[in-house]
């Protein structure tokens, strides 16, 4: 396993960085927020991502994707973290695409993956039913009824839920085992409530009230559906950890720039050891997060059976480090760090939300203990 980026990955990162900083800088995110954009992201940007092949990063070539792997998806999200770029990339191109890949039949893949690659659809991935992430707390049921299914239950805070055309729902079948069901958001019996969150994203809550579905709504091509769901979640965790890392890196960079410029007592405040040691400690923590996030992404690509502990540990570390980096950022910016005008507060908010998504540091620590057998 290599801990350095190869040439292809470096090119991808560099092109993503220049594209995002030109097309989707933080000012673009502010504009979406201030105009109360109903989707929570820019449709033009989503189309542009499709044009560049990003939407197909985890889709096999047979279905129109470029299949660059989880590491590449993580790199892209890391860059989006830097610019706070909201998009359906994580929900649709990562979670939904991976779910279809590992659990979808050929017919289901052919129906949905090309649409994802083309940027023509937004698909949410609905797992949580309570306030805190816990993929074992699934009460939603998908019971057999004739040749079809009937879905009942609720899902909360489905990412990109407000704009989603369809969602993939984690439910329990007649045996109580977890299963995956793909549901059109406009299907009879599905109701949706959009939720604007602190980071100006637009997830939605869903209620399923006797939703009658055809049998082909079930994604059951995986040999081990429960394992497939865990894999989808681990891919999502490693990728959102990469986004958190990008948030931390950029927050740190702007903070360092600021303390070098800001003068008090006639000198740059960066010359004070009280800030220097905190900054150096913070950089050390970011370096640790970089390594473990890369390790988790690479493990998912190369030896996925070993990935669960790395995905949980990387998610925990990236969550903690991004929250720490952004909170230290506000403190070092001082009063202006509390204003809406400065970006650091936006990073702080995103760090909180991305950290919660698919499990925060406390959740990750619990998983690590469990997976380590203690």
């Amino acid at each position: 396993m290599s801990f350095v980026l190869n040439d292809e990955e470096q090119m991808l990162r560099d092109s993503a960085r220049s594209f995002l900083s030109e097309t989707a800088p933080v000012t673009a995110f502010r504009k979406l927020r201030d105009e109360n954009n109903a989707d929570g992201f820019s449709r033009e940007l989503w189309a542009a991502m499709a044009e560049m092949g990003w939407t197909g990063v985890l889709v096999e070539e047979d279905h129109g994707g470029v299949d660059l792997g989880v590491s590449a998806a993580g790199l892209l999200l890391q860059e989006m973290g830097r610019t706070l770029t909201p998009s359906p990339f994580l929900s649709t191109a990562v979670l939904a695409a991976t779910a279809l890949r590992v659990a979808g039949s050929e017919a289901q893949k052919s129906a949905w993956l090309p649409k994802i690659v083309a940027g023509e659809t937004v698909i949410g991935f609905a797992v949580d039913e309570r306030a805190r992430h816990n993929p074992e707390h699934i009460a939603t049921t998908a019971k057999k009824q004739g040749n079809g299914l009937v879905l009942n239950g609720t899902k909360r805070f489905v990412a990109n839920g407000a704009a989603a055309d369809a969602i993939i729902v984690v439910a329990r079948n007649d045996d109580g085992a977890p299963c995956l069901v793909l549901v059109d958001c406009h299907h009879k019996g599905v109701s949706r409530t959009a939720r604007r969150t602190v980071d100006s994203h637009l997830p939605a809550d869903f209620t399923f009230d006797n939703v009658q579905l055809d049998g082909d709504a079930l994604l059951d091509a995986a040999e081990d559906t429960a394992g497939a769901i865990r894999h989808v979640l681990d891919v999502g965790r490693a990728c959102v950890a990469a986004e958190s890392l990008g948030v931390a890196e950029q927050a740190f960079d702007v903070t360092i720039d600021y303390i070098k410029e800001r003068e008090q007592f006639g000198v740059p405040i960066a010359s004070f050891q009280g800030l220097q040691h905190r900054a150096a400690h913070l950089l050390s923590e970011i370096e640790m997060a970089r390594s473990i996030v890369l390790k988790a992404l690479r493990t998912l690509d190369e030896t996925p059976s070993q990935a669960p502990i790395w995905a949980a540990a990387a998610k925990a570390k990236a969550t903690a480090v991004s929250r720490f980096a952004t909170s230290e950022g506000i403190q070092m910016f001082g009063g202006v760090g509390m204003t809406d005008e400065y970006d650091i507060g936006l990073y702080y908010k995103r760090a909180q939300a991305a950290g919660e998504f698919l499990g925060d540091d406390a959740w990750g620590a619990g998983q690590v203990a469990k997976l380590s057998g203690y």
Partner: protein
């Protein structure tokens, strides 16, 4: 020879030559072979293992053959390490000569110095210690005052060193001595090799909170050292010392990872686990899990820095990040180990050999973030060299 062939031959040789007593992990300080004029082997196996490995140059696998090394490439040395690890073979010889002086001599030494000193280090015949810190020169090491005055082809050395690891057991010392009285602080220091048997050199052990005395004070009273024993140019000592400190930091860092200390095992030992084998106290369990996460991140960082170095990206000041994080992590690991052991961890001595070891190694770990440059000095280096923050 292909690497695969090398691996096979190495494995076969190790199988045939590593004595059984050297295939169980070292339990502590007492099992480490340091070598030296006065070394007493703990067992025949320890002696045989050193002799056989030294014969092949494998106590210092990457040093050139003409200086007693194995002449192995980085890849081959890595394979040797892996194969030794696979059969749980102990290191045949550990010493400051190997970790620190050797690399400095290879880079800065004259041909004569290399031929004189390196083979003896490789064979474990001479044990070295490091004379850097002084009572008045700790973090501000360059303010050191031990001075050498030129007298013909010799320096007359006077002064005191402190925290000299194992000085009382060592044969030679590499010391920083101010020889250029008029030069600026950092440019007046020379790196001198001094035989500890020289008249005027004496040592005194320092008792630590662990009850042990791995460190000494070392005194120089009109001790004479040949000018030919200066490594590099007179006045180049600070540069060499800095180069060498990076090797010391790497050593301390690898300790932090390879320690093998595990609070989970400690909880089992103390009987503080539930029927499922989970650490019984849920908060302690959480703390251990967070430590595990940080240890995994640190381990991944070591790998990343190594890969970056192989690719030609300098490690540079990143060594300071590794030293800082690694030592703080090691201290945390020992603290949690003590918590997991509860009262059992408080034992100072007892019937069994390992009684008292947990407390003593916990106490020893406190030094990790002081020796080789304190955590605060590492943070200063990161702030200055990596982040380029302005000075006050």
């Amino acid at each position: 020879m292909s690497l695969e062939t090398f691996r096979k031959e190495t494995r076969d040789w190790l199988e045939a030559n590593c004595p059984p007593g050297m295939r169980v992990p070292a339990k502590g300080e007492a099992d480490i072979c340091w070598g030296g004029r006065n070394w007493t082997f703990a067992s025949d196996d320890q002696r045989i293992w050193l002799e056989r490995m030294a014969e092949r140059g494998w106590t210092v696998p990457t040093w050139p053959k003409e200086y007693g090394g194995g002449g192995l490439s980085k890849e081959e040395a890595f394979i040797l390490k892996e194969e030794m690890k696979a059969m749980k073979a102990r290191s045949p010889l550990d010493s400051f000569g190997i970790w620190m002086l050797g690399p400095a001599l290879l880079k800065y030494g004259t041909e004569e110095q290399k031929r004189e000193h390196l083979p003896k280090i490789a064979r474990g015949e001479i044990r070295w210690c490091q004379g850097y810190s002084e009572p008045g020169a700790g973090s501000d090491l360059a303010s050191l005052r031990t001075k050498g005055v030129l007298d013909g082809d010799e320096y007359i050395v006077n002064g005191q060193k402190v925290w000299t690891s194992y000085a009382d057991k060592s044969d030679w010392i590499f010391a920083l001595v101010r020889t250029e009285a008029d030069a600026p602080k950092h440019l007046g220091i020379s790196f001198i090799l001094i035989d500890m048997d020289t008249p005027g050199v004496s040592t005194k052990p320092i008792k630590l909170i662990s009850g042990k005395s791995p460190f000494c004070e070392t005194f120089f009273d009109d001790a004479r050292a040949k000018v030919s024993n200066v490594v590099g140019r007179p006045g180049q000592g600070w540069e060499i010392a800095k180069y060498l400190l990076s090797h010391e930091r790497a050593g301390i860092v690898s300790d932090a990872v390879s320690g093998g200390l595990n609070p989970v095992g400690a909880a089992h030992l103390a009987g503080e686990v539930d029927e499922k084998g989970q650490i019984a106290d849920p908060i302690l369990r959480g703390d251990v899990a967070r430590l595990t996460i940080d240890a995994l991140a640190f381990e991944a960082t070591l790998r990343r820095v190594k890969d970056e170095a192989d690719k030609g990206e300098g490690v540079g000041a990143k060594a300071s990040i590794l030293k800082y994080v690694g030592t703080e992590l090691n201290k945390r690991r020992h603290e949690l180990n003590m918590s997991a052991l509860g009262s059992d961890g408080l034992l100072w001595e007892g019937e069994k050999e390992e009684d008292g070891e947990a407390a003593r190694s916990w106490l020893r770990s406190r030094a990790n973030s002081i020796e080789g440059g304190t955590s605060e000095i590492q943070l200063n280096i990161v702030a200055k060299r990596v982040l380029e923050l302005p000075g006050t």
